[in-house]
Amino acid sequence: MSNEDWKPPADASTAELFERAVRLHTRRLLAVARGIVGNRASPEDVVQQAFMNLYQHRDRYDWREPGGLLRRTVVNESLRILRQPKIAALPDDPGDGGKADSPSRQMLDSEMVVQVRRAIDRLPENFRAALVLCEYEKMSYAQIAETLGATIPQVKTWIHRGRRQLAEMLKEYAGQI
């Protein structure tokens, strides 16, 4: 039985539910954090901080269905870190953060994917967060708006402008080679 199939007992303690949430959601949250912060912060730190922010006030939340709450907290923590002044960029190589042997990892090695990643990193943070939630998390515009505390038209604008800017940046790159 996988983690996702396991239903917590009715009398499960908050600590047990929290541990289950950590086991169940960390992989996805790390990917979301990495998509938003890029190489400007450690996604592991972002996710840990997000979990701890919630854990400090754990009695306020429902830990039986924490997916939305966790995603929102990770997105907010990622944006908070990006808005801090003077963030030193981490090296381009994600190190242990990437799947060393996966096909995706091999694709990342291709120049075009690297360029797309760099272009995404250059987008304004709201555009990037909206794109990650839309394209990686497959969330609807309404869910993204709720997660980012924005309106649906705003989210739509961020996503469309983000894609247009990406296309422009990649056109410039294509013109250089």
Binding site: T26, A31, D96, G98, S104, E135
Partner: protein, 184 residues
């Protein structure tokens, strides 16, 4: 002719699954006849696919996931431990402070009571010249007052009564001198 930005947004909404059905139908009709629009849709699909590779590459390794899970759970346990430790420390500090304050008050009160009692304690002294027995006591202004008695028994009895009255008064109101006249 380049595809208009509004049409690109329309195509993106379509790819995101956010286009209402009536608009989808309208778009399909246009795609059937507008080749440039269809080519733009293909280009956007290919961009989407490329970005999916980028997002896929954001997925962490099993090792990174396990490491982060352990870090989070360790941090949570540390938080619990520190919270419990802080709570116990706060209770102990408060208890120690209360005990210290209690001792302080008790100690100063005890010294004060002793000194007053000693200062005001009556004592009996025989006076050879008059054949009387004098009970000496100190009032609250510091003056010594002597009260004569004909017999030692009377003087001792008076002194004992006065001392007892002083103790009772101190116990009730704090230290104070009982004027000798109150007894007569």
């Amino acid at each position: 002719m380049a595809v208009h930005d509004n049409d690109i947004d329309l195509l993106n909404s379509y790819l995101d699954g956010e286009l209402p059905v009536p608009e989808c139908e309208g778009l399909w009709r246009r795609l059937a006849v507008e080749q440039e629009l269809a080519a733009e849709l293909d280009r956007l699909r290919s961009d989407h696919a490329l970005r999916q590779d980028v997002w896929g590459a954001c997925e962490p390794s099993d090792q990174a996931v396990a490491m982060t899970e352990n870090r989070v759970l360790r941090a949570a346990r540390k938080h619990d431990w520190l919270s419990t430790g802080n709570h116990i420390l706060r209770v102990l500090t408060a208890a120690a402070a209360l005990i210290a304050v209690g001792f302080g008050f008790g100690w100063s009160g005890r010294n004060h009571a002793n000194s007053v009692a000693q200062a005001n304690a009556p004592y009996v002294q025989p006076q050879a010249s008059s054949g009387k027995f004098l009970v000496s006591l100190r009032d609250d202004t510091g003056h010594v007052v002597q009260i004569p008695f004909d017999s030692l028994d009377e003087a001792s009895h008076f002194a004992d009564d006065l001392e007892q009255a002083q103790r009772n008064r101190q116990a009730a109101d704090g230290p104070a001198v009982v004027p000798a006249m109150e007894r007569f």
